[in-house]
Symmetry: none
Subunit: 300 residues, 2 copies
DNA sequence: TTCTTTCTGAAATTAATCGTTCAGAATTTT
DNA sequence: AAAATTCTGAACGATTAATTTCAGAAAGAA
C-alpha cells in the first residue's frame, strides 16, 4: 500500500483512515489499541470531535492520540482529522455506496458476516410471526403477582431460561427456576396451583419429560408460555401463548439469539408495565449488592 | 443511535441545520448570505473544518461566521458545529434499516419493534468494531486442546457464560465453568497454568473480583478473552482479545443479545475448524443421550 | 532480583481557535 | 450632499486545542 502524504493529499480512493488504523494495529501499544478500537467502532463519528473529546471517549490521554496518529503516518492530529473529513466528503456524496458494512476487512464469507445475515433474517421472520396481542398477553400473565411463575428449559435452552429467571427475580416475587433434571420435577409440581404460569423453553430435540410437565400444569389449570422453534414442540397444542422463534444459522447448532431477543423484550414490557412495583425492588437490590460488596460502582 | 450529548439540546428530529439556514436566509446580510450559500452547497462537508477554514472557503471573515450562527440561534460556533456532528451521527448510523416492517400489526412504538431497531443497530456497530483477526485469534486459543479453558460470568452474564460452556463441553475436553461466586475462585485458580485460557464476561457494574481473577490469570501466563460493553471493563487492558459488544436498548437493562450472537459465531468457528475432533465427540454424546433416555428423537 | 527499555499521562508549552471590539466602508435615510 | 445606519473585517485578547516534555509505571531482559 503506497501512501501519498505531502502537499496535495491525493487520498487514494480505496484506503480509508480506518483501513490504515487496522493495518497498523499490530504495531500499536496497548493504550493505542484501545484508542484504535474506540475510533473504529463508531467510525467515523467517533473521530469528529476535538482531540480531547476523542481521548476521553477512548479512555486514554491526549498524548496517546498524538503518538498514534503520528505512528500511522499523519503529520499530526489536525492532519489526521482533515483526512477523515475528506473521506467523509466522498462517502457522503456517494449515497448508498456501502451501507451494508459488516465486519470490517472481511469478505462476505467470514462466519461473523454469514451469521449476521442469518440472524437478522431470523429476527425478521420471527417478528412477523408474533402477534403483539399474544406478546401483551404473555406480559400480563407474568405481571400478575398472585400467580407463581415457573421457568423451565432444556439442555441448551436452560441458559435462556436462567436469563429470564434472573431478571424476573428482580421484577417480582414468586419466581422459580426449575432445574433441567426431570427427576426433581415432581417436587416443584407439588406446589403448582391454578392460575400459576409455566414458561417453557423447548427447541428441537424436545424433551419428552417437558411434555409431561406441561400436561400436569394444564391439568392443574395453569397457563403455559412456550418458546419453541419452527418445528414446534409437542407442548404447542396446549400452551396459552406460543412464541415460535427462528433458530436456523449456518452452523451445526441452532441459534438462541432471537429467543433471547424475545425474552429481553418481554422482560422490558413486564418491567415497564409494573414500574412502580419494580422500582422499589431494584433499589432494594442495589442496597443489597452494595452491602455485600459484590459489585463496585459503575465507572461512568 | 439517538443520543443527546451535552446540555439539553434535544435536536428536533426532523429540522436539520441546513433547514435552519435556509429558513433564515432572508434575514441575513449580504456577506452572511454568501456564507450560507457556501455552507449549504456542499453540506455538511463544508461545515466540518474550523471556523477559519469555513470563513476562507466562503470568502468572508470569521466574525461574519460567528454573527451568522448566533443569528441562527446557536450559542456560538462550537455549538453550531456540535449540532452538525450529531446530525451526521444519526445520518450515518441509521442507514436504511427502517424500510422493513417488523411485527405485522404493530405500530413502530411497540416494544418489540423498538427492540428490533436497537438490536440491529447494536449488531451492526459491534460487528464493525470487531477485527476478524481478533475473532480468529480467540478461536485458535479455544481450539488448542492442550490448554484448559475457564469460563466466568457475572450476575447477569452468567447465562451467556453457561451457554458458551454447554457448547464448548461438547466440542472439546478440559472446559470449566467458574461459578459466579468469588469465594470459590481460589479453588479454580489452584489449577490454572500458563497457556490456559480464561474467558471473561464482564459488563457494566464490573465486578471487582473479576479484575482480581484476571490479574491472577495474567500472572500465571494465561490468555484472556474478554466480552465487555462499551464502557469497558477494567480487564480490558490486559486481555489478549477483547470483544466490545453494544448493549444499549430501550430498557432498564442492558441487552445480551449481541453478546450471545458473538458467542454463537465463536462456537461455530471453533467447531468447524476442528470438525474431525468434534464429530466423534458429538456422536458419543448422541449415544449417551439415547442411552439415558433424556431426549427423544427429533421429529423431523 | 536489578537493570534496561518501553509505555503512559500529568503538567507545561506552544499553537490555534473563537469571540469581541472598533474603525472604516457600504448602504440607506434625511 | 450630509448624516445616520448598517455592515464588514483587521486586530487584539480570552479561551481552548494540540504538542512537547518529563517523570513515574509497566513490561521485558540480563
Amino acid at each position: 500500500m503506497l501512501k501519498i502524504r505531502k502537499g496535495e493529499r491525493a487520498l487514494s480512493t480505496d484506503t480509508t483512515v480506518q483501513d490504515t488504523i487496522r493495518a497498523s494495529f499490530e504495531r500499536l501499544t496497548p493504550s493505542e489499541r484501545q484508542l484504535a478500537q474506540a475510533l473504529t467502532s463508531h467510525y467515523p463519528m467517533s473521530a469528529l470531535g476535538s482531540i480531547t473529546t476523542i481521548a476521553q471517549q477512548a479512555g486514554v490521554s491526549t498524548p496517546t492520540v498524538v503518538r498514534m496518529v503520528r505512528k500511522l503516518g499523519f503529520k499530526g492530529f489536525p492532519d489526521f482529522q482533515a483526512r477523515i473529513h475528506e473521506e467523509l466528503e466522498t462517502t457522503l456524496s456517494t449515497p448508498i455506496a456501502k451501507h451494508d458494512r459488516w465486519a470490517n476487512d472481511a469478505p462476505d464469507a467470514h462466519i461473523l458476516n454469514r451469521f449476521a445475515e442469518a440472524t437478522i433474517a431470523n429476527l425478521r421472520e420471527t417478528l412477523s410471526g408474533i402477534r403483539t396481542s399474544d406478546f401483551d398477553h404473555a406480559r400480563d400473565l407474568l405481571k400478575d403477582l398472585r400467580n407463581h411463575v415457573y421457568i423451565v428449559g432444556g439442555r441448551i435452552t436452560k441458559s435462556v431460561a436462567e436469563y429470564l429467571f434472573t431478571h424476573c427475580q428482580v421484577i417480582r416475587p414468586n419466581v422459580t427456576l426449575i432445574a433441567p433434571t426431570p427427576s426433581t420435577w415432581p417436587h416443584y409440581a407439588l406446589n403448582m396451583k391454578a392460575g400459576d404460569v409455566l414458561v417453557i423453553f423447548d427447541i428441537r430435540r424436545y424433551e419428552r419429560e417437558i411434555e409431561t410437565l406441561n400436561r400436569i400444569a394444564a391439568e392443574r389449570g395453569m397457563h403455559t408460555i412456550l418458546f419453541t422453534d419452527r418445528w414446534k414442540s409437542p407442548v404447542t397444542k396446549t400452551a396459552t401463548v406460543v412464541f415460535r422463534v427462528e433458530t436456523e444459522v449456518p452452523s451445526a447448532w441452532d441459534s438462541s439469539v432471537v429467543m433471547l431477543f424475545v425474552v429481553e423484550a418481554l422482560i422490558e414490557a413486564l418491567q415497564s408495565s409494573a414500574w412502580k412495583t419494580t422500582r422499589d425492588r431494584m433499589k432494594d437490590l442495589e442496597g443489597l449488592l452494595e452491602t455485600s460488596q459484590l459489585f463496585r460502582k459503575p465507572r461512568v
